[in-house]
Symmetry: C2
Subunit: 463 residues, 2 copies
Amino acid sequence: MELTNIRDIFRNQKKFENQKITIGGWVRSNRNSKNFGFIVVNDGTFFEPIQVVYADGLENYAEIQKINVGAAIIVTGELVPTPESKQPFEIQAEKVEIEGASTPDYPLQKKRHTFEYLRTISHLRPRTNTFEAVFRVRSLCAYAIHKFFQERDFVYVHTPLITGSDCEGAGEMFQVTTMDLNNVPKTADGKVDYTQDFFGKPTNLTVSGQLNGETYAMAFKNIYTFGPTFRAENSNTTRHAAEFWMIEPEIAFADLEDDMILAESMLKYVINYVLENAPEEMAFFNNFVDKGLLDRLHNVVNNDFARVTYTEAVEILSKHNDKFDYKVSWGCDLQTEHERYLTEQIYKRPVFVTDYPKEIKAFYMKMNEDGKTVAAVDCLVPGIGEIIGGSQREDDYDKLLERINELGLKEEDYKFYLDLRKYGSARHAGFGLGFERCVMYLTGMGNIRDVIPFPRTVNNCEL
Amino acid sequence: MELTNIRDIFRNQKKFENQKITIGGWVRSNRNSKNFGFIVVNDGTFFEPIQVVYADGLENYAEIQKINVGAAIIVTGELVPTPESKQPFEIQAEKVEIEGASTPDYPLQKKRHTFEYLRTISHLRPRTNTFEAVFRVRSLCAYAIHKFFQERDFVYVHTPLITGSDCEGAGEMFQVTTMDLNNVPKTADGKVDYTQDFFGKPTNLTVSGQLNGETYAMAFKNIYTFGPTFRAENSNTTRHAAEFWMIEPEIAFADLEDDMILAESMLKYVINYVLENAPEEMAFFNNFVDKGLLDRLHNVVNNDFARVTYTEAVEILSKHNDKFDYKVSWGCDLQTEHERYLTEQIYKRPVFVTDYPKEIKAFYMKMNEDGKTVAAVDCLVPGIGEIIGGSQREDDYDKLLERINELGLKEEDYKFYLDLRKYGSARHAGFGLGFERCVMYLTGMGNIRDVIPFPRTVNNCEL
C-alpha cells in the first residue's frame, strides 16, 4: 500500500503541504459534534500523532463518529497547515476507511495507566506514549552502538549463547537441556547421564561473551559483541533481569587508558545520536519521566569524564562514611550508594574508577605492578552508578595460569584462553555495557522491566 | 597506543606515503637473508597484509630474524611506495618490537589447512585468510541489515529468547531450567514440579520472535527483530545449526506484495553493501571458494526477482519429475532440489513462490479466497534454494481463531495474539531471513559451521 509515514510528514512538512496524502494508523482519540469531528491518529513512525478533521459530507460520517480508540484506520485527505494551532498541520479527510475496528473494552483508553498495570499487557503497552518513546529510543540506541563501532572498523562478533563452560563464574546460570525432566537419564552410579543430552555434556546460557570475544580480538584487533546474556539470580530488583543484552568491545594493542577513551567516546556518541534522532521522545522523558534528564545528558556529552583510582576513591568516600549504610574501607567492593555519591556529589559528572583490589575482580584482569590491584575500570554515571565495567586483560601466560590455579579454576577449561597468551599475545582490554542500563540512563526510566519489550524475571516469563 | 590501522593505509595511501607510521599486528611470514628480511604482517583490520622490510642495521636484527609465525609485533617505519612490486607499498622498519612471541608449534603455519581441521581450533581460525574474510563479511552483513531497516525508520525490537510457549511449533525446543537435574522436584502425583523452577513454569529457548514482533508492528507499523533462535533438531547437515540468528521484519498496513518488495530491496541492499565494503574479501571468495560467486550476486542485484505461484511452480516442475528424487505434485512441500531447479534452471535468478497449500504452512498465514491456499511466500535463490520465508498474516479474528481450533492449539496461549485482531487489526506481513544462510549465500561457504564463530550442533558445544 502507498502510505505516507507520519514521520516523513513532520520531517518534510513543506513537501506534503496542500498535497493529497494517505496515512494508516491507530486512533488515539475521536471527538465530534453534529457536523464535524477530530480523530487523532498515531502510526508509530513518529512520537507526535496527527489530527484528522472529518465533516458530515463524508458518506460514512455516522460510522466514523463511532470509531473507538485503538481502531486502525486509513485516511486520505489534504495536509493543511494550521499556523494558528498547537499542531503545525492537520489532514482534512476526503476518505476515512476502517481497517480494523476496536471495542469499548480496549484496555488503553485515553487516560493514564500505571507502569505496573501496563506490564500486565506487554503486547499492547508500546501503543502508549511512554512505551512508544522507550522502545524507539531503545532501537536508536542499539543502532547508534553498531554505527559507532562499524564506523571505526570494529568487527561485530556473534559469541555463542549456549555454552559448555561456566568460564567467568559471573553468576548463576540457566541450564539448557533436551532431556526428559520427568525421567532424567542416569549413569550406572546414579548421576545425570549427560552423554544422552543434545550436546553430550552439560550446557548453560552464557553470562558473558568476553572470553570468546578475546579470541576474535586477537585476529581482528578491534571487535565488539552485542547479544543477549543471562543470569539466573533470584533477585527481584528494579535493575536486574534474567535476560538482558550486553555490548562487549575488545581491543588489541591497547591498554586501560585506550579502554577508557573508547568507553567515553562510545557513551557520548550514543547520547548525541539519540538526542539528535529522537528529540520529541527525549523532551517527553524530560517533562514527564525524569525532570533533570536533558541537563544531565548534556552535561555528560560536554565534559571530560573524571578519573580516580579505587584507592583514592576509598580515601575520599571514607571521609563521608556517616552518609553510607555500608562503611567504606580499602578492600571492600563499592556499593551503588558509594558509586552514586562519587559521581553525583564529588565529581558531578561521569567518573572512571580504576585499579581495584584483585580480590574483588575477575581472574583475567591484568595484575598491576603493586601486586595488589588489577587494571580494572568501572565507569560511574549520575543517576545510575556503574554503567560500564572493564579491564585490561592479563596477557602474560605464566601470570594468567598462576591466577587460574590460585582460584582453583580448571586449567583445561581455559586451554583456548591460554593459547591466546602463547601465540602472539598482545596487550588488550575491553569492557561490558549492560544495554538495558544504558537505555534506562538515556530515558530516565527507573525499572528495567519497562525498557525490555517482554522482560524475564523470577517467576515471570509472559508472552 | 597510537597505531595506524592497515585498513587506513590501504584506503588512504597518499596520506601515509613517505610518512613515519607505527602498526601493530600478527606475523604471517618471516623470511630473511644475512643482511635483510621481510615480515608480512596482518592486523585484522584489512584483508591484505602489509610487508615490512628490515635490515641488519636494527639493533635487535638477530632477534627479529627468529620471529615465528603468529607472533604479535609493533613496527615503526616509513611507508614507501613500491610501484614496481605486487604490493603497492612496504614499511621500511626503523624499529620492530616483539609484543608477544609465538612458538614453532603454532598451529597456523603458512600452509593450507582443511576447514575440518580449522573447526577444531575455532579460537584461532579467524587468523586465517578464509575465516578473516568470512567473519568480516558476516559483520558487514549484519550492519547492512540494521542500516537498511533503520534508514527506513523500522524499529528494532528485541524479542525474548527464553519463552514460556511453543507458539509456532516450528521445531524441537531446548528446555531452560534452574532445577537440579540430579534431583528434579516432583509434585505429589509424580510429575515435574515446575513451580520450583526459576520462572515457575516450563520454559524453552525461542524458535522465532515473529509472534512477539507482530505485537510491536501493531504499535510502530514497521519493525524488525535480529537475534538468536534455536532448534534442538537432531540433524547433522551442512545447513542446520542448533543456534543461529534470524531477522524477522514485520510491516503493518501491508500485504504480501509489500512483503516481497521489502524482501527484494533488503537482499539487494545487503549484497551491494558487502560488495562495496569488502571488495578484497569478495574477490577472494570468488577466486578460492566459489568461482561463480560474483557473477551470481551481480545477477541478483541487477535483475527483478521472478514471481510464480506454488500452483504454477508445481505445474512447471512436474514436467521435469524425471530429474527429481522426490516427484512433485500439488500439495507436496517443495524440497531443496525442486527449489534449486526452479531458481537455477527455470528462472536463472531469484524467484518468489507464493500461495502455498494451507496444510504445509503455519496457522497464522492469511487464508486466500480459494480456501485452499494461504498468502505465503518463499524466496528462492540460485545456489541455496530457500533463503527467506514469509507471509501475510491472518488479520481476521474469527478466521484466526478457527485455524487455532482446527489445529488443536490452545486458545489461551494465543490470547495476546488474538487481541491484535480485536483492537485495531491491520493487514500485515513479514518474513524471516536466516542470517547464517544469508552469509553462506554471500560468501559461497558451503557449511554453516564455517560461518558461525563458535557453532553449536548435535554433540558439539566447544568453547
